[in-house]
Symmetry: C3
């Protein structure tokens, strides 16, 4: 069985050895058992091109070994030394607006530059060789938050690779011209090298071109990850990961497909706590082995020279730590132990101040350390219990939204709203990549996924045929792989399967478009789709006003053993929408756990199964006022962090609690 | 007599022949009799430099001929093929911010580039030759919405031409230095080639330079239009037009002066319907022959990858179609018949969806086709009756506002507000270029025209001498041709004619500047002018507070048979201002038609005269609730699109109605 | 004794000699006795490189001499002629965003360019030679508002000098690397020429680099000023000044240290009148001789092509003129006498319009001329009486805020708020550079000064030891000279002196952080600091909620004869904060003048001492409604500009008044 970790990042490159040792000792006192080092130290490891010096890494690892501190070692590719770019501006990232981004922070070198690749892979290989024999290393982290600061690059290296990539994808330039519809506006190309990158143009680029450039960018990064893994594997077998995050434009599934476990960073503020748990529910599902870690989060608040973060309220941190483990993560790791004295992140909170005194959240960090120590035995005797409902969160889906930016919809925001509306009702879900196995669930929700691939459709139909319930929409299935309209029925093969026609789509924001569903007439919002449903379907939602009057936007259809719900539009405010809530009540709740639990908004819970077959509810109140819950199953409170002052059916502000049901509940389906 | 047309744009380059034929057949069923093709197909007509292939044009024209569909053929200069710019970045537009705009959308090539001109003119000539014998062609459209996506260009071609243009304009560099006052800030130039374009400078450019660069830009485009006309006229005599629009920075008058009829595009949303009728009232007056067409408008909503448009409410479209013809336009043409499957305009509504099924407004398009068929006989038996009032809308005036951007006033917005305040009161006006004939009107309104040219002043004085009423202001006459202060009295020759002195000007926004006019004391707004009026004048408006107390901002003066009203400032909100309304009532209403008609806001009407001398009022309710009107003249309702359910003195939401007066009304003046 | 001046700027380069003479005559009629000329006339003085012609300067000076008009002569370095940059783009400023800023306005040439320096210094020398014998010249003005339109420049000249400057500063590259902490993110440099300028980078630059680049930029300008002074001093001894302003990023102290008197420009609008008096209270203290002038202010409103200014209310101008002299300034000079006919500043108000007629504020200018004439004898018989309280306003402090921009705090805004809160309470203060002598005051306030240098700390400790009261904070002392965290206790040597530890800092905006001080519990704001105070201190402010509960943010400590108040945080709204007001009442009022005067907000007063030892209060009401005051000392009103209508204990709107106390008041301390 794998172990659980609690710790913080250390920067031996920034402090002398004495301070480093003092901090490691301090960490031990705070019940910490893990650290992460090295993700930015390239200039120390290779101070001149080809001249290596691994002393700082070896020294640090030796000290950490001495103090029995587990460690994750970073490959410092996000910060190439000055020699990489001095008098070599061509190696720098050039963004869509033709700005060349210089040395001085991070990620300024294009990861598609051949010289960079060569040096980065050499470095990874050499680090792997140096660290191979340290048994307190629990993982290697590639880079740091890929694409945290850059998005598309149009440097000369990229533009050349782009032509070659297109050639591999489309073989024949006429196939590309056809697929992209380049006859519109005489955009057509005579050869692959003629194809422009999405740099500034008088109006707007072809969506297929934008979509392809993002795919190209994603895939080049996946390729780089593959090269790094290969370079490391020349010398060692430590599990490899990367600390990703929801905000960046990469293909997480394909990146982690090459890695051994998932890791993530999050800096959600306390008033946005659902963004925190969304991370837990998403990254848990990134790898089929379920293995994931939280590698960076603040003790109190983020902050850099252009933005001072807002601190967490007192005691909030403990709910984050508690839920992290409850949700299946093996690690909770602060960024960072000691505040940076220099650089641009001086306003970022840490465990201790630059002089080593307690920083603002020190009291909470200490309590969290105790909490970790107390719940660890309980964690080890139980496993996370997968929920029955999965919501697809897809980097491919996100790409379509990135292609249509400006004042249009933002994928992450819409998904977070949808997720939060479920969380608020006490529904625990898995948030999964579209590539994952569906058969583990009773209900699959597929929202905001403009393009449903043939693979995905096949999985959906198989899932439904086997008895699953699938909710499709809003904004799902209406575009092709090339970000164009389908050539048939508006939903292509999905539409054929559903049996729809007369598909139309319109923006519902800013005009009174009403629709009635589940008995309630409400103002609709978003890019809304209406259609003629198949004959053998139950109509769920119908337009009630003006242009959309009597047009259907939602229906339910039974197919073999299961059913599919098509959802063409939703009400303006998911949180207050009655039709939305009734939809969820109808299709989601009843497929969820058989635990009869009602909660007030603010409480987050996860179900765990003990090794001896008992069901536990791990719950925390993430808000600053008392919250009630009502659990009908007979149960006992077996642990709380408010030992002196807790009441049944109510959580104190930021209280964490573990409840065990008296007997195993029967679940209808696995 | 010319014919009336109703139709939609087709894209044979985007769909196969089968779809194209099906769409043409479908159009016929919808009572359509016109289409537009070809405005972007350069890459198909000239796939390699100098290698031409007109098959798509010939095929399309043949099919359209077979189905007796009239056609407007585009010259596809806005979309040069990739060979034009590949490895020739110097042909690309470079905007004021030094951004070079690449291939991938439209208008990326500078129309002042010599190579572009040569190729564009060759192309136009060849197209003309190919199409010369098709008798179903009703017009040729140059380019597409000149300057829709670009404004000033500072590419090398432009900068060189700029020096030469200046030399032609000023002859001697010292004349330029004097005219621009370049001794300010040591800006002075020793030769024409030294003169900078208005690229980014630490503070602000000389207004005369900015003004000259805009004039230069306008005139180069006029020159290009002339070259295109010449190239086409080598081979054919079809009437030539261009689809312009109010949003772009060009000299419409001089462009259309070289063309045969006016055309325009508009995508005004329904909540901004006065912007739609402003187009009708403006473009009708662009050519002295009164011939104009609406070549592009949406069936429901615009939309592109960066903005999803808001759909029209149901039945709104019919009011647009009805008023279009009532106001004198010969054509109403949708953009476009079938939604684009690819490209960046996928969210733009059309008649049918990409799969050919009815799009969101199909029901309305169908009704509009019936409406067109029904009113066509009535249109053919009547002619538009020119109103008595004209408001000058001048691209020259707009230039002065463009020279002073940022948070200052926007010409189009101010003009639209002013126009709307008249429309709301039921006053129909001609909106005319300053070059038009004034003697057709009783009253000329000259607002927001900073520079009154000597030609214009001569026309105004002649008009007033002959008995006309002229309202001058606000913000009129206070700058020279070079965008500087006049060298005498603040209003130059206009001021001399009016007999004013002690002219001062101040911004009234953000401070309490009150003025009393027509018995009402109100807060003033805008760049406001005060002066000492001539002795023999009636004072209309006087400042009442602080710095402007007792200063005159408006007066009326009789000159020979007519009168002039000077208006130095207006109240903050034209719609609610009592002094504004009284000014209009005093000078405009009584000069308007002698039809005793009162309307509620939302009703728009045009007067038409039948061939047998009767007066008709064509009116439509452009809002979603019932609107009353009160017509004192004895009359009959001779047509409505609400046949089953209409009441006298009231229009249903979006109802269109034709009323005929029982006897010819006597008008006081022509 | 030096004289007092009242006047306006003239532009002989823009108007012919006749107009120039007429304007000078007109100025005399308005009681004006000074003008400023020549600050932009380089192209007339050196029309071709090396070809000089000083006729315009000589002619203008002769005319002014004839009319006995005193004059300040500008050195026109902000506007290099076209020959300087034509085909020499490398001499242009290139801003942080890589934009090269072209000819066409002002300050487009980099003042660090060697060719510019040579030509600018030659020009200054030659002007000095030409004007040396004119005895009506009262001063020479260098350039015009240094850095008004530009900030950091990264042109090739700058980047080269930057490397050299760093080498002089740090000697050894490893010292730089250590000082900046460049091991963070592998930023480290191997040589000085490798160090990047702060151009666009993917994320954020190291704060030490940003800070150093600003210091470098400041010092290069100081160097240029030194060269200019040297060039002028070859030929003449006229006092040299520069018209600076609060908005620009320069080191005023070091610039004026090389000049003979201070000058400033201000265009504060009337609703922001405290910004006007802040200028008076600041620039008075720029030179130890106290000599300063107001060289530019509007008669009514600013304005340029991108922004139309809001006019002053009637009579407001007189309060500006009156307070200017009362506060110790010797000159009040309008920009400008006659509105520019051309260029981009046409909307800027002046004394007369471009045609020479009275401009909008002419009545006020005339009254102000009379006021000046009336108060001049009183000015000559009295001197400004230094207040007991000084607030440090430091360009060094500002630099730290510029390093951390975006939505963070703005130094000038925060300082203006703080200053205004004092002004509103009737507390007159000196606003002083940190280099000034403290021993003249009873109380020194040191807010928003992130870095307290060793020199400054020494001055503070000496001041306190001698019996002074020093208030330190908010946001003071928490960063090093390199803009990093101190290496000990969070406040470095300041902290050691105070005896604090456990220093933490957090943003208080956006979260409920409350603190209680002076008996009042209030929401705190800003970047707030908490700490463990020394044992022998009085605790003044303590956090009362959540994470900051029981943490101290303010304390008072007696040290030798004086006391220091540390202020780690302030309430959200200084104007309404009770704890802020009580702090001021406790430490500031009682150290201020012994005049028992209470005022309503809107009244501004200065104390002057007559040559025969009497105390005068010069006060003006800067707001548009009547304001009360209560003066307990027995006194007489000896002058007012509302002679016909004034009442004791109340000022009319915009009234100016001089009160003389009946007997000399005893002050506790000098």
């Amino acid at each position: 069985m794998k172990d659980y970790y609690y710790g913080a990042c250390l920067y031996p490159e920034h402090w002398n050895k004495e301070v480093f040792i003092r901090d490691v000792q301090h960490m031990k006192q705070l019940n910490m058992n893990v650290t992460r080092i090295g993700e930015f130290i390239w200039s120390l490891l290779e101070p001149e091109e080809g001249k290596y010096d691994f002393q700082i890494l070896i020294d640090s690892l030796n000290i950490l070994k001495e103090y029995e501190m587990n460690v994750i070692v970073g490959i410092p590719t996000p910060t190439p030394p000055r020699w990489m770019t001095y008098k070599n501006d061509d190696r720098l990232v050039k963004n869509e607006f033709n700005q060349t981004l210089i040395h001085g922070s991070r990620q300024h070198v294009c990861t598609n530059n051949a010289f960079f690749r060569k040096k980065a892979n050499q470095l990874a290989s050499k680090i792997a060789e140096v660290i191979r024999d340290y048994d307190h290393i629990i993982g290697i982290q590639l880079d740091n938050e890929f694409k945290a600061h850059t998005d598309l690059c149009i440097c000369d290296s990229c533009v050349k690779l782009w032509g070659k990539w297109l050639e591999r994808e489309y073989k024949d330039i006429e196939r590309l011209n056809d697929a992209w519809g380049t006859n519109i506006w005489s955009e057509s190309y005579r050869s692959f090298e003629e194809v422009v990158p999405p740099a500034t143009t008088p109006f707007l680029h072809n969506l297929s071109l934008k979509n392809a450039y993002r795919k190209f960018t994603e895939e080049q990064l996946v390729e780089f990850v593959g090269e790094q893994v290969e370079a490391i594997r020349e010398h060692c077998i430590f599990p490899i990961t990367h600390n990703s995050a929801l905000g960046f434009n990469i293909d997480n599934y394909r990146i982690f497909d090459q890695l051994d476990f998932a890791s993530f960073d999050t800096y959600a503020s306390s008033d946005n706590y659902s963004a925190y748990t969304l991370n837990l529910d998403f990254w848990r599902n990134m790898k089929s082995n379920g293995d994931f870690m939280l590698l960076e989060t603040s003790t109190s608040h983020g902050g850099h020279s252009n933005s001072y973060g807002i601190p967490h309220p007192e005691n909030y941190l403990q709910t984050e730590v508690f839920l992290n483990y409850a949700a299946g993560s093996r690690t909770f790791n602060y960024w960072h132990f000691r505040r940076h004295r220099n650089g641009c992140e001086q306003p970022h909170s840490a465990v201790v101040t630059p002089v080593g005194e307690p920083d603002i959240s020190y009291r909470d960090v200490k309590k969290a350390g105790s909490l970790f120590t107390e719940i660890k035995p309980l964690l080890e005797k139980s496993t996370f219990e997968r929920p029955d409902v999965a919501v697809i969160y897809s980097d491919r889906a996100k790409r379509y939204f990135l292609n249509e930016p400006s004042k249009n919809y933002d994928y992450r925001s819409e998904m977070t709203k949808l997720y939060t509306s479920l969380l608020n009702k006490g529904i625990t879900v898995d948030v999964i990549p579209e590539q994952n196995d569906f058969l583990k669930y009773n209900c699959i929700f597929v929202p905001y996924l403009h393009h449903v691939s043939e693979d995905l459709l096949e999985k959906i139909t198989h899932f439904v045929n086997q008895g699953g319930t699938c909710i499709i929409g809003p904004m799902t299935g209406d575009r092709t792989e090339e970000h164009s309209w389908p050539s048939e029925n508006g939903l292509s093969k999905l539409g054929k399967w559903l049996g729809i026609n007369n598909f139309i789509q319109t923006e519902a924001k800013g005009i009174d478009i009403y629709g009635k569903a589940f008995g309630e007439n409400e103002k609709l919002s978003g890019l809304s789709s209406f259609l003629t449903p198949p004959k053998n379907s139950n109509i769920l939602g119908v337009g009630t006003s003006g242009i959309t009057k009597n047009r259907v936007y939602s229906f339910e259809k039974s197919i073999e053993k299961g059913k599919v719900i098509y959802l063409g539009a939703v009400a303006e405010d998911l949180f207050s929408s009655i039709q939305w809530n009734r939809l969820i009540d109808t299709y989601l709740i009843k497929h969820n756990e058989q635990i009869e639990l009602e909660i007030e908004v603010g409480i987050v819970k996860y179900i765990r199964k003990t090794v001896d077959g008992k069901t536990q509810i791990w719950m925390a109140n993430m808000q600053a006022d008392r919250k009630k819950y009502n659990l009908k199953n007979s149960h006992q409170i077996i642990w709380t962090n408010h030992k002196d002052n807790f009441s049944s059916n109510e959580l104190n502000p930021f209280e964490c609690r573990i409840i065990e049901l008296d007997k195993e509940e029967i679940k209808l389906q696995t």
